[in-house]
């Protein structure tokens, strides 16, 4: 979730003016590098000489170290390097790979046998075994913890210990996403958690490549390489996280050489940073159209709207190219259900006008609900889209609501507006999460008829990956032809860093310090 304020926008404007005035726009010169080393000399720890420590700035302090509780990206930036799941996610292909489990095999439709890796130790030295797994899974899905993210494991029914090396999990029906769910469930140390319940929010004992060594509340978190790690030793020995909420300050801290990596950079800063790495993020913007009642019920008008919006212009003008036009769907390649045959609706105002004439559209007022400040440039996107729709003759009335009110409208099927703008991020990289939310009539955010419900339900139970993907491709095609929404753009994640940092950002937005190298 990107937080974005009017203040920041104003700041960016002022900053860019300021940068031009003070003549430090443009690329990095030698002078810049010299200045960095000057700052370095003044610092207590001469980073540049040893280069085994990376200093990372994230937007906000992690809320807690109870890795099973919150939905908190700032926490994950730290804990993904400290705690592990039974399976891990390959950061480029988005496929589950072995981690604390060596094998995960279905014995029937609802039962999974899981073989555990042997010889693994937690950071406090205690051995990892089946008891820890049983404890962690039970804790994660328990009513007592009632975690914000427990929805991921709604399908889990029970877990049993078979032996010290093996556990068995049963699900409440077929769950094709079982393996992905395991990548999100982190394993904690049973003995330690039971002995130190008060410490759980403050300290994390995991099995990962790094151990959490210090948390100066409000200031920094330090993690250090775990010399007893079961996998390959990471190249970076120590990572220090700092929390700088203001994007402009985070960029300046990078320029001043106080940090080595800055996450969540804005397109405006790119030209001013030493080096950037980008990757298509998880956030897709979409404009949900009301297919069940009102003027937009006519499929031709929904198609017309799809032709009328110039997605490329949104990506180029608002995000300076640091956004990708969505391929007629809100999935990236690699998601289960990605349909390679779809392409964005072309920008074709003439075609839009034709369809509108055909549908007999006569200037009826259309309600367009949006919000501002939750995601990067959401308000600007809304204004631009409304303008594009007006340009072909739609009579659009934009209603900007506060996030809370906007959510209420989004979830209210009975009173769906003609159009509502939202960002959507699919954290398990599986079409069910998207269709189950915005197409399925029992989903929280659907304004679509029940024509596809049966297909969504059968795909949910389909264990054969190929058949399932085929079902999702069909649904994707159906809501493309008879639009449920206009798929707009996919924002890129921008990481600012210094030249000596080598890091390829992952497709799943995880910040993996163990994949970093320092030159």
């Amino acid at each position: 979730m990107r937080k974005f304020t009017v203040v920041t926008l104003f700041l960016m404007f002022v900053l860019s003016v300021g940068l031009i005035l003070s003549g430090c726009g443009g690329s990095v010169s030698d002078k810049q590098v010299d200045k960095n080393s000057k700052v370095q000399e003044q610092q207590e720890t001469p980073q540049q000489k040893t280069r085994d420590t990376v200093r990372i700035a994230i937007p906000s302090e992690p809320s807690t170290m109870d890795v099973q509780y919150p939905d908190d990206g700032n926490m994950r930036a730290v804990t993904e390097n400290v705690a592990e799941g039974l399976l891990a996610m390959d950061g480029q292909s988005l496929k589950p790979i072995p981690a604390l489990a060596t094998e995960v095999t279905p014995t029937n439709e609802t039962t999974w046998r899981i073989k555990l890796r042997q010889g693994v130790k937690f950071h406090n030295g205690s051995p990892f075994n089946a008891d820890d797994v049983v404890f962690s899974v039970r804790r994660q899905i328990s009513d007592e913890l009632n975690s914000d993210i427990r929805g991921y494991w709604e399908s889990f029914d029970a877990i049993e210990k078979i032996s010290d090396e093996e556990v068995q999990i049963t699900t409440k029906g077929a769950d094709p996403n079982f393996k992905v769910r395991l990548t999100l469930l982190k394993i904690m140390n049973k003995e330690w958690v039971e002995a130190n319940p008060d410490q759980v929010p403050l300290q994390l004992i995991g099995t990962g490549p790094y151990k959490l060594t210090e948390w100066k509340r409000g200031q920094s978190i330090t993690i250090e390489a775990n010399e007893n790690y079961w996998g390959p030793q990471p190249a970076v020995k120590t990572a220090i996280y700092r929390f700088i909420e203001e994007d402009a300050t985070r960029a300046q801290a990078l320029k001043a050489g106080e940090i080595d990596v800055a996450t969540n950079m804005l397109p405006e800063y790119v030209s001013d940073l030493p080096k950037v790495k980008t990757v298509d993020g998880l956030e897709f913007s979409l404009l949900r159209l009301n297919a069940i009642k009102g003027v937009m019920k006519d499929v031709r008008l929904r198609q017309a709207a799809s032709y009328a919006v110039d997605k490329r212009a949104l990506a180029e003008a608002l995000y300076q190219g640091y956004a990708t036009v969505a391929q007629g769907q809100v999935f990236k390649p690699g998601y289960i259900g990605y349909n390679p045959d779809l392409a964005p609706y072309p920008y074709d105002p003439e075609k839009a006008k034709e369809l509108m004439a055909e549908a007999g559209y006569n200037g009826e007022k259309l309600e367009f609900v949006g919000e501002r400040g939750r995601w990067l440039k959401d308000g600007e996107q809304i204004e631009a889209i409304a303008q594009m729709l007006r340009a072909v003759g739609f009579n659009v009335e934009v209603k900007m609501l506060s996030f809370q009110q906007w959510l209420r409208v989004l979830f209210d099927r009975e009173r769906s507006p003609d159009m509502i703008f939202t960002f959507h991020s699919n954290d398990i990289f599986d079409a069910d999460r998207t269709f189950g939310t915005y197409v399925y009539t029992k989903g929280p955010g659907s304004s679509y008829p029940d024509t596809l419900d049966a297909k969504i339900e059968s795909a949910r139970k389909e264990m054969d990956l190929e058949k399932r993907s085929q079902l999702y491709r069909e649904i994707g095609q159906a809501i493309y032809d008879d639009p449920a929404w206009i798929s707009l753009i996919n924002i890129q994640d921008i990481y600012g860093m210094h030249d000596y940092v080598e890091y390829e950002p992952r497709q799943d937005m995880r910040l993996a310090v163990y994949e970093m190298k320092l030159k």
């Binding site: 427990r150 909420e245 106080e258 809370q404």
Partner: protein
């Protein structure tokens, strides 16, 4: 005197309770933390569960009673977002804010008083014009913009100080200077006008005709009599710094204080933490007001608290 303090403390408790009640009502009518805490894609069943767990499905008065009976025992509940006792989370941020606040305030006050006095002694002189323009500029400059400009010049270009963070005096300089600009401007203006006021009084003429040295007239007589005004406005500024300006400054400079926590807890819709923060800030400001009132007799012996 003691009776007065006692009554004032009772008043302060009423004020703090009132503010807490106001925040309680507002947060619960405007916000819905469940929507913020859960991913947008969460199911309706998940939302109902969390609402129940946070106790937000209980009747409003029951929630209110639960909160105030907790506070009466010094228990503000757990912060939803940090899973820690809310009051502890709030109090551990207090030292950083105090450090910033006190440094900035002392900087502003020690500069503002002499500047205001000098401007008042010679009205319409060049010095007066510089002071007036400067203080107006200080009041008008958006402080987050100023902060960023200082970062670019002194931290990035010159490398003298740090862009952000906490720990050494070099981390403190830029946020403290930025934060002091606004109160500096305002207090200077107030000192100037209060002094101008006093210097036209009859007793000043008397004092001068007695042959007292000019500095004695200005400092011992005029400034002392202007003291009530100056202390009042300074206290007021200190309160505003605490409850307002620091928020922006702490966010811009990544300073780990209360202000940053306020922003975060609003973003996270963390009601218990928000209540604890309000309580802490309202209590401090109430006490600050009391202390200021108690200094009045020093400047004006006619004021008595009996």
């Amino acid at each position: 005197m003691y009776k007065y303090i006692f009554i004032r403390l009772i008043n302060a408790i009423i004020v703090v309770c009132g503010v807490s009640l106001l925040v309680f009502v507002l947060t619960r009518t405007i916000g819905n933390p469940v929507d913020v805490m859960l991913p947008i894609e969460a199911s309706i069943a998940e939302r109902v569960k969390l609402t129940h767990q946070l106790g937000l499905d209980k009747p409003f008065l029951i929630q209110l009673w639960a909160y105030f009976s907790g506070v009466a025992q010094g228990d503000f509940g757990l912060s939803w977002w940090q899973r820690q006792p809310a009051l502890t989370v709030a109090l551990e941020r207090l030292p950083a804010t105090f450090l910033l606040l006190v440094t900035s305030f002392l900087l502003a006050f020690t500069l503002a008083v002499p500047l205001g006095v000098l401007a008042a002694i010679k009205p319409k002189s060049l010095l007066d014009k510089i002071c007036s323009t400067g203080s107006l500029l200080g009041v008008c400059l958006p402080n987050f913009w100023l902060g960023l400009m200082l970062i670019i010049v002194f931290a990035v270009k010159l490398g003298w100080f740090y862009t952000s963070g906490y720990g050494t005096w070099r981390h403190l300089v830029l946020p403290a200077v930025t934060l002091s600009v606004l109160p500096l401007g305002r207090i200077t203006q107030m000192v100037r006008s209060a002094m101008l006021d006093q210097l036209q009084q009859q007793y000043i003429v008397t004092a001068r005709s007695k042959g007292l040295a000019e500095w004695v007239v200005v400092v011992r007589h005029a400034l002392k009599n202007a003291g009530v005004t100056i202390v009042t406005i300074s206290g007021w500024e200190l309160g505003r710094m605490m409850a307002g300006y620091t928020v922006v400054i702490e966010v811009v400079f990544g300073w780990p204080g209360l202000g940053q926590l306020v922003v975060e807890s609003i973003n996270q819709q963390d009601f218990p933490l928000l209540q604890a923060l309000t309580f802490v800030i309202a209590s401090i400001i109430s006490l600050l007001n009391l202390v200021i009132d108690l200094t009045y007799p020093f400047f004006d012996p006619r004021i008595k608290y009996d």
